[in-house]
Point group: C2
Chain length 614, copies 2
């Protein structure tokens, strides 16, 4: 980190171009200098001042009033707002009392000698100013105007800088090799979400891969033992909010590495590339098993910025008279779980409780029991009188309940009860924050490794069959290999997820490098057609080194760092949530003759089908 | 450059992994150190020595012979060549007289304590050693093995390093912003070579763009005034040798810049990123107009490493009696041109002359006349006796003809005659080099700017209509703007090509930033449907700054620098010249049900059609 930051210096923003300086950089130290500036007219005041803007900031330009400069005055007074002008002149002090301390260039102004209108601007569909609210549709339609906003400039420039620092860390400090892998590839078995690209051979298609997974493993076999790529990936998920059909990941793979090696590498990567205007990242990151994350936070991507942990209170209620708790405990794997919502009694009204119960019923088909702890009064709950004093004291102790808190209690099978409370925990946090309670500090970045995932899950459509929790190349946990042949469902994997503030921002694993093991998992356990992966299986037989890697979702990471409401705000030209480019109107119709070289034709849906799908 | 190289230090190649060192880095200075190495078995000698290889080099490992180390010996002696092993031991001196001065690690060897077989290798389809020749098909089929070769490791690692240095130059020194642009876009008008990507909306297609041209211009309108991207581009050209369906360009755009600004930027970029094992790049690069390049070298991408320039000798033969020269000069724009092939008389036999004449006849439908200058004898040519002494002396002076040279003479319309001699110039260079004459120094990198291209060309299929020489966004030369409305064919453009050793490695232009001018060129001169570009035309109306840029073809550049025979040798996973991935067998068939979500079906060609196209 020290090495990286000492290398850094301020770039020359004005080399090779017509300007001598950027608008935002001028200070009292530039007084007397002859400068040439290029920028957009932000606004004009009484034909005396003009404020010029570029990506670096704003500067005040004095419009000359003497007759000899009439042509300069005309140019500067006639040009509409957002026109592009070039001005040359001298940096002078503002008259005493007219300094603007809120403006970084507020001590100076430009005494103009010459001006040139570089391009005029017609009436805008919306004002560029950040405080002017515009719909996202309008912003996407005129993306080139939206990009002029302070926030978009900040987001895209920060993204570029962070990626550059990551590259310096990987290439210059740790000898990684940046290797480009193809995006025109072969369809992955089961890759239902891959875009197809017709080729000129009848019936033959390329596929746009979801990640360079196969290629990075093949690079390891090829002896390129420290690979990374800022990789464009593709996923056709139809319309899903806050997903993009193309997205970017920091893709990394190493030979001769273990799980800890990858974790330390990534911690260093984030530490080194972290924006200097944020608190530094503290390393190493804490780690939690998947089982613990589920039991404590009800999710595999816990937001650890705040508590409200899930507590198992089954033992407390073994002999309860509360009917639905009794019923739950009598079932196999039945449990009772609760979370304590701080000040919930104070802030939660009937409406909030109803919405919480509705979530439980709708998404989990589950009952939730709220208990309100009113100041100086008894517990307020439909079942309060069935909770005996001993239970009450023990619950208070276990859950560290305070006056005015609210307890949400549910009963049922472990995973289901945890998932429900995990969801309600976030729901309650939202509700409390809407009431002004600060639970999740926005300046806090809480990283967490989640490890020891199960290697397989039962298939949703047929629970007697197995599918990979992540992907079929993930290596089993070394302590569990024997279980592969007896109880594969119990095998943990060497997969690791990186979680930030409740969002998964990366995931990876140690891979299988043994051809026989890989074949057993693909063929025998997963019942996949290995023919489609024969090149990979073959590669493992020709001296494949042990290897592992990770991929970080760059769009999501930048979104969390900048606090942007959507990943669309950290991408220059994003698609709408329906996958459209609203600026150019893509995707678009193509005349049939242009489909001909690709030997495809459109199967137009019947009216009935079209109606059904819309 | 000084700043960049002082920042550079040797990366840690062994951080985070099982090895302590790379195989190739150990020297006498490491004597006595305990090391752990991971690598591939290169070869074994008499079960006493084993040579271990990684990307960094080779090291000799002493196989222990004492009984207590029997298990280590067994591991190291049983593992087939190219198996992956991990060894730990001590760096010791080789016994006196056994040092190998040809091997960088030749003074030391490893006294092994422990060994681990990480993965065994089955019998290889070919040997990894560089001197073993294999067909390219085999290399592509087992690309993961081919990547282990010294040459592929060198090519890919150098590529990564050069791109990293380019990024440092652009981002850290000159404030460029690395911005990713979409690859799922809308079809460009006339973009016949764009791959299509079906969407889930019936009849709607994305297109994979040939370059981020539109996006980079829109970024300029958006105030991101120094953009670059290492951009993946796509071009569907069917089967063309030494082209790839996806390729990479260093894509750059700047606001407020002129042609000189871009040229100086690129010269600095190449100077800063140039490999340190080559002679430094000399800047600035020479510049030549398109007209001059055509007249002197018969091409817009002259190889300026050698002479053999085209000389116009029309004036010399105004009164000639040689029939076909007379005929040519009597036609409008008729000229006589010649090149002088040094030592051509010495090296060129009947066979070479026949092949040269065949090229002229086949490709140019043109006659070529050779004149041989034999030592101590008269000129030897079918027309020698028709060349009078005066002409002979003047020709010798003009073309600096020496004994044993050969002159190739042709007559015809300027452009055609130049193109023919340009082609023959390269052909003769190839033939001379096959005979051992060194004309083109392979360590010489001869950069050249070619400028002042015509803005328009007559359309091939309909010469009365115009098409853009490069693309319709190219700005006209400021001195020629008035001609746009009178004689558009005479308008020069602000386009510039960067040529290296006879290959175009980049091209760019100052763009049109005036909406009205852009509309006039698109609609009135080029007769394009402007509806498809309405977003761009609109963007120019909303305060677009003057801007320009360039794109460098990274694959071609790396190919020239490494001296690789094909761009496939500087790409990790290239397609064959027919666009196939021979390793995974892409493109491949897709079951009809997977086409359904995209509302397309295959139009299978009839047998007759299939036969015709094959």
């Amino acid at each position: 980190s020290l090495v990286l930051s000492s290398q850094r210096r301020i770039p020359e923003f004005s080399s090779f171009v017509a300007r001598t300086n950027t608008c935002g950089e001028l200070r009292s130290s530039h007084l007397g200098q002859e400068v040439t500036l290029c920028g957009w007219i932000q606004y004009r005041r009484q034909n005396i001042f003009l404020v010029l803007r570029d990506f670096h900031g704003l500067v005040q330009v004095l419009i000359p009033q003497d007759e000899s400069a009439a042509s300069v005055k005309k140019i500067l007074c006639d040009a509409p707002v957002e026109s592009v002008v070039q001005v040359s002149g001298t940096v002078i002090s503002r008259p005493p009392g007219q300094e603007n301390p809120k403006m970084p260039t507020g001590e100076i102004e430009i005494k103009v000698k010459t001006a040139k209108l570089l391009n005029s601007c017609r009436k805008l569909p919306f004002e560029i100013k950040d405080f002017v609210k515009k719909t996202e549709t309008l912003r996407l339609q005129y993306r080139y105007l939206d990009l002029r906003s302070f926030q978009m400039q900040y987001n895209l420039r920060l993204r570029s800088q962070m990626v550059m620092k990551m590259r310096e860390y990987l290439c210059n400090l740790h000898g990684f090799v940046d290797i480009e892998t193809p995006t025109l590839f072969k369809k992955t078995p089961g890759g239902a979400k891959e875009f197809l690209v017709p080729s000129r051979e009848p019936g033959k298609f390329y596929s746009l891969p979801q990640s360079p997974q196969q290629f990075k493993q093949l690079l390891m076999v090829g002896g390129l033992d420290r690979y990374f790529q800022v990789a464009r990936c593709y996923r056709d998920e139809g319309s899903r909010p806050d997903r993009q059909p193309e997205f970017t990941q920091i893709d990394i793979e190493m030979s001769f590495v273990d799980q800890t090696g990858i974790q330390r590498l990534i911690e260093g990567l984030l530490h080194c590339s972290w924006p200097s205007d944020k608190d530094p990242v503290v390393v190493p990151f804490p780690s939690m098993t998947f089982a613990e994350a589920l039991a404590t936070y009800g999710t595999d991507k816990p937001d650890t910025r705040f508590g409200m942990k899930i507590i198992d209170i089954s033992d407390l209620f073994r002999n309860t008279e509360i009917g639905f708790l009794q019923d739950a405990l009598n079932k196999p794997e039945g449990t009772i779980k609760a979370i304590c919502v701080p000040e919930g009694t104070k802030y939660f009204k009937r409406r909030e409780i109803d919405s919480i119960r509705k979530i439980a019923a709708d998404h989990f088909n589950q009952e939730v029991l709220p208990i309100f702890l009113k100041v100086g009064r008894n517990w307020n709950s439909p079942v309060a009188k069935l909770i005996i004093e001993e239970q009450r004291l023990e619950l208070t102790r276990l859950m560290e309940i305070q006056e005015e808190d609210m307890v949400l209690l549910t009963a049922g099978e472990h995973k289901k009860a945890c998932s429900l409370l995990g969801k309600l925990r976030l729901e309650c946090a939202d509700l409390l924050e809407m009431r002004g309670v600060v639970l999740r500090d926005t300046s806090l970045f809480s990283f967490l490794w989640v490890v020891d995932f199960p290697l397989f899950l039962p298939k949703e459509e047929n629970p007697s069959e197995l599918e990979s929790t992540h992907h079929p190349f993930t290596a089993p946990h070394p302590n569990d290999i024997h279980l592969l042949y007896t109880e594969p469902k119990k095998v943990r994997s060497q997969h690791y997820d990186l979680v930030l503030n409740g969002h998964e921002i990366g995931g990876g694993s140690i891979r299988i490098h043994d051809a026989e093991l890989q074949r057993y998992i693909l063929e025998t356990l997963l019942k996949e057609d290995v023919k489609l992966l024969s090149h990979l299986l073959q590669a493992l037989e020709y001296g494949a080194p042990p290897h592992g890697g990770i991929a970080l979702g760059l769009d999501r990471l930048m979104c969390l760092i900048t606090g942007a409401p959507s990943i669309r705000d950290v991408i220059a030209f994003p698609k709408s949530f329906r996958g459209h480019d609203l600026m150019s109107n893509a995707p678009d119709s193509v005349p049939p003759e242009e489909l001909k070289p690709y030997h495809i034709q459109v199967s137009w849906p019947t009216d009935a089908e079209a109606e059904k799908s819309s």
